[in-house]
Each structure stands twice: as structure tokens, then as C-alpha cells.
Amino acid sequence: MGKLPMRARVATTLGGAAGRMSRLAGRGDGSVIGGVIGLRVEPGLLSLLAADRQIVLVTGTNGKTTTTRLISSALSALGEEVASNAFGANMEAGLAAALGQSPEAPYAVLETDEKYIPAVLRATNARVVALLNLSRDQMDRAAEIWLLARRWREAFEAAPDCRVVANVDDPLIAWAASGAHQVTWVAAGQRWHEDSWCCPRCGSHLRRDDLGWRCHECEFSRPSARWVLDGSSVIDSAGRVTELGLALPGRANRSNAVMALAVAEVFGVDPAAALQKMRSVTSVAGRYTQVERDGRQVRLLLAKNPAGWLEAFDVLEPAPVPVLLSVNAQVPDGRDTSWLWDVDYRVVRDRPVFVSGERGLDLAVRLEADGVPFQMVSGIDDAVSRVSPGGTLDVIANYTAFQQIRTAVGRAA
């Protein structure tokens, strides 16, 4: 921290103190308030804190927090400290706080809100930006996604030192990344196609087949990838096939892991060493946590938007293990529940389904339209009581519903 100008040092110290007080007062992990105060004292704090460090920004609609964690683990193989906003505080204040808390770390892996990528890229001069995917999400407050992709593209055009690591299976991501001066293409997969039926360059209907996607009007097509996710394995640029063997479940996390390997490669981390570190990650900010509740196993899955729900269904235990679906519509969730109609709930027809949450009735009408039988419950404990002792309950909830359930079961992880 010795290199920082006085005002930045004061800002960081004040911010750190505020963060500690916030933690003591039981108001979360304290990272945001620390950053907010620090930025008020020194608006250029993020740039100052980022100077002379190797920075990775991680963005996309889904998988930011988990991928940030996987990249941090992979980079820890370098034997140096890695700063990170591990708890998902992903706007400027959260980023400044993460850097301020680890002043000596030569590396930083920062989850970044999609809208802030252009400003944060300018402020931090990031070495790498990892682009995961882009799909409809909280449209009452988030920017429209074609517009976001255009802003990203312009930001990359203006950042010649930045390498973009991008998922080629999402056409909107591929289009945004193709504005960058340096790109690593990763075939990380994308099951959700509803936001990418049309060419991001010219708007024509895209053709898809086993080899990917292609526009027949303007010839924009899926770039060939250096890293490929193939089932449960990764194929690297030399053609070597390695079993991922993650502790984290599901296709989406295998996708996140391959993105993380491609980022780690930029910093010279050996893939085998990176994978070894990534395999030790078992739960991320409470997600995928399994807790015992009243003699039943409860597993918590977070899904915030239609693409996220599609991936969460992929992780469910096989039927007839019951599932609790819980939906709120507070500000962090998006006040608009229209997205429920973009999720295909027919996949849970084969198991007992419980419904809860502040917008449980929205979900009830949705499930009824899909012909999915369900029981309305008052909350997690009501659902648990309807599961046989010794049994398992899967829970899929959106953001604040997830936090409420996590608090109810005692923040066990």
C-alpha cells in the first residue's frame, strides 16, 4: 500500500474501518459500505488500487460468482495472493473494497456487473475479461442485452492490452468479443437459445447445427475454439482430453471451469495444477450447499433468470426427490415476474413440487398452465416437514428467496 497516494490511503483505511464496523453490526460481509466510503473520499480509488496489478474481470448473466471463485482458485497455483470480491459485491464499491482489503496481492479476480464493464475496464486496465453468457435478466432494471453487447464491443475496441476470454457458443458474446484486439475462444456451451436466434451483426435468423451457429446473410459464424468443453471433459489446445472431476455439480459449472482454465492459461498456470485447485471448490456463497434440516438433507440452488433455471433443473436429484420452488420479486430479484413464462417447468412434472415465496401465486398460475401438480407451502420448514425423514429436498430459489431460505437454515456454509 506504500505506493498509494495519501488520499487513496486515507480512503482505503476509512473504507476498511467502515467495513469492519458493518460486519460487527451484522450487516453482511461489509465489503460494499467500505467501498462506498472509500470512493466518496477518493473517486479515482479503483484506478489507484488497480495500478500495477494483473486484473481479471468476470462478467455475464449467469455463473459470475462461481467462475470468479474458480479462477481465483486456479491462480492460487501461482503461489501469490489473489484479491477477489468473493461474495458477489460486483459494482464499483465492491471492487474497490476487494482490492483495498488485499493491498499487496499482485493478482485480482473481480466479478463485475455487466453494465459496469466499460467503466471498470477503463479504470483498472484489466489484463483479461472473461465473458460467460448473456441472456434476459431482471429487465425492469438491467440494460437490454443487445445494447450491453454493443457497449462491451466498443470498450474492447478501445483496450488493446486486454485479452477477452469468450464463450463462442453464445452468439451475442462472440459478437461482443470479436471487437477485442486479443481473444481466446472457448467452446463452453450454452443451453439457453431464446436470446440468440438472430445474428447480432445483421439481425437475420441464425442457423444452428451440431457444429454451432452461422448467419446465412452476413456470414458471421461461430469462431473455432482453443478450449472445448466435451461432456465431463475439457479438450485443450493441444488436443489433450482431461476429465474435469469437479466437486461442483452440473453442466453450467463445467462450463465455468473451462472458462477458468482458459483464463488461467493467460497467466501461465499449468492446466493440471489449475484443475487440482478448482476441484477443491465445493460450495460458492451458499450455492450448492447441502445442509441437514430436521433429519432431511436440503440442497440449495440459486436461479435468477430463465437461463439459470434451465441449468438448475440439470442439477436436480433424479425423481422422485421433491423440489421446493421459491420466488420473490424484490428489487434485487427484479420487480417483474414475466420471466417465469420463459421457463419450461414441465421437467419437474415427475416429482412432488412445493411452491413458496412472496410471489408464490405467480408461480402457481405458471405451473398450472404447464400442467405441473404442486402444493403451496408456507416456507422451507413446511416443505421439509412434507419430506420423509431421512429423505432429500432440492430447493431452487431466486435471489432474495434464496437468501431468506439460507438464513432460515442457518447459513451453514
Binding site: R136, M139, D140, R141, E144, I145, W146, L147, E194, W197, C198, G203, S204, H205, R335, D336, T337, S338, W339, L340, W341, D342, L361, D362, A364, V365, R366, E368, A369, D370
Partner: protein, 244 residues
């Protein structure tokens, strides 16, 4: 009934350009119409028509959803060139258009740079871009001629719309923005549009039934499990949103 109507055994629903115009839950309108028809024993054929396919002219009800500015401009250009939608409406088919879809069935709307773009001229409305985005719950009382109770929905748009002499406002706004002049949506003959975005028919089953009635004639009321949940849901939303 339209000249081409095929009777209650076969209702044809056509979802127009879900690849361009389906921003947030627009599929809900298709599912709700399908469900409410089937519960009354009406056979349904639902088709989705992408922007690289011709729009069939045999549909009974056509649905258009919301979209970002650029896809909206592309959809308008393609639908004009195709001609199928306007031809079907001229033959008496029902059209229900939401948000970006609502704007593009008018004579003109604001494009991605705010420039005027020619619409399909199926409804006498003219839209442009407003000063700020209207985002939030909307409540509106429907034109009494339609016999539909209060509308409840969610809007998320920056459009303002003027209604010409060839169309009537769908409703008067109690809470929210709508067309920007105190009215919300518009209709003429069997073409109806609204700024209530996404699955607007889910909260407004009477509006869904109005469209079905236009297509197939009088319908018996619904009861049972589906209607019970729909009623509870609608009442919760109406109670949660104050009349401002």
C-alpha cells in the same frame, strides 16, 4: 367469426417472430390462450413463425411480443415485406400485440436512434420515444364497450403513442404510464395492442377470453383449479398496486 374461421374444434394461434419479438415472458400469452381454449374443449393448433419463415394467412389469433429497438425495426421491415399478417387482419383475424409489437402494427414508431420507422398500418396509432422509461405496475380501466374488468400488468418501455381517429383507447390509466396521455393501449375491429408487456393475458383472463370470443364466438365461463389460482393471483396483484 372471421370469413376463414374454422369453428370451435380448431383454433389456430400464430406467434409471430418469437426469434425477434420475445423479450420477457411473451410465451405466456400463447400458453394462456391455448389453455383457456382447451379447457373449453376447443382444439388448438399453435404455431411459432420465425423471421425467416412466411407468416401464414390462416391463423385465427396472431400474437406479437416485445423486443429491443433493433429487433423491432427488423421485425417491422420483414413483416411489411411478407404481407401475411396484414392480409390476415384484413380478412378478420384477431391480432394481439404487446409493447414493441403494439408500436409496430401502427403507422409509425421510433427506431433505435429515435428515427421514425414505418409500421404495418394495421392500427391507427403513431408512436415515438418519450422522455423517460416507464417501468412498473400498471392499472387501467377498460373501455366499457368491451366488457372487460380492470387491467393489471407490468410495463417497461420508453414509447409514447397517439391514437388516431381510426382506433380507440383500450383503457384509461389509473396507475402507470401507458400511451403517455392517460390512456393505455388501443383497438379497432379485432386488432388490439397494449403496453402491458410480456404475459399480459395471464393477469387479465377476461381480456384473453375477449380475444377468444372474437375468434370463435361465445364461450362458457371457466371454473376449476386453473381459474381458482388465476383469480387468487389476479386479486393479489390488484390489491398490491395502489390506484394513484
Amino acid at each position: 367469426m372471421g370469413a376463414h374461421a374454422r369453428g370451435p374444434a380448431n383454433l389456430r394461434l400464430v406467434w409471430v417472430y418469437p426469434d425477434l419479438l420475445s423479450t420477457y415472458g411473451d410465451r405466456g400469452n400463447l400458453l394462456v390462450l391455448e389453455r383457456r381454449a382447451r379447457l373449453r374443449g376447443i382444439g388448438v393448433e399453435a404455431v411459432s413463425v420465425n423471421s425467416d419463415q412466411p407468416v401464414p394467412r390462416y391463423g385465427d389469433i396472431y400474437l406479437l411480443g416485445g423486443g429491443e429497438d433493433l429487433p423491432q425495426v427488423l421485425a417491422a421491415r420483414r413483416l411489411r415485406a411478407d404481407g401475411g399478417l396484414a392480409a390476415a387482419a384484413a380478412q378478420g383475424s384477431v391480432v394481439f400485440a404487446v409493447c414493441a409489437g403494439y408500436q409496430l402494427i401502427g403507422t409509425e414508431f421510433g427506431g433505435d436512434e429515435g428515427q421514425p420507422v414505418a409500421g404495418l398500418e394495421m392500427l391507427d396509432i403513431r408512436s415515438g420515444r418519450g422522455e423517460r422509461r416507464g417501468v412498473g405496475e400498471i392499472l387501467a380501466d377498460v373501455d366499457p364497450a368491451l366488457g372487460v374488468p380492470r387491467l393489471s400488468g407490468f410495463e417497461n418501455h420508453q414509447g409514447v403513442t397517439q391514437i388516431g381517429p381510426g382506433a380507440r383507447p383500450l383503457a384509461r390509466v389509473l396507475t402507470g404510464v401507458g400511451n403517455g396521455d392517460g390512456t393505455e393501449g388501443a383497438y379497432a375491429d379485432r386488432v388490439l395492442g397494449t403496453y402491458m408487456h410480456g404475459p399480459a393475458l395471464v393477469r387479465n383472463p377476461a381480456l384473453a377470453d375477449l380475444l377468444l370470443t372474437w375468434a370463435v364466438g361465445e364461450l362458457p365461463p371457466l371454473d376449476g383449479e386453473y381459474e381458482a389460482w388465476t383469480t387468487r393471483f389476479r386479486e393479489q396483484r390488484l390489491a398490491a398496486v395502489p390506484v394513484s
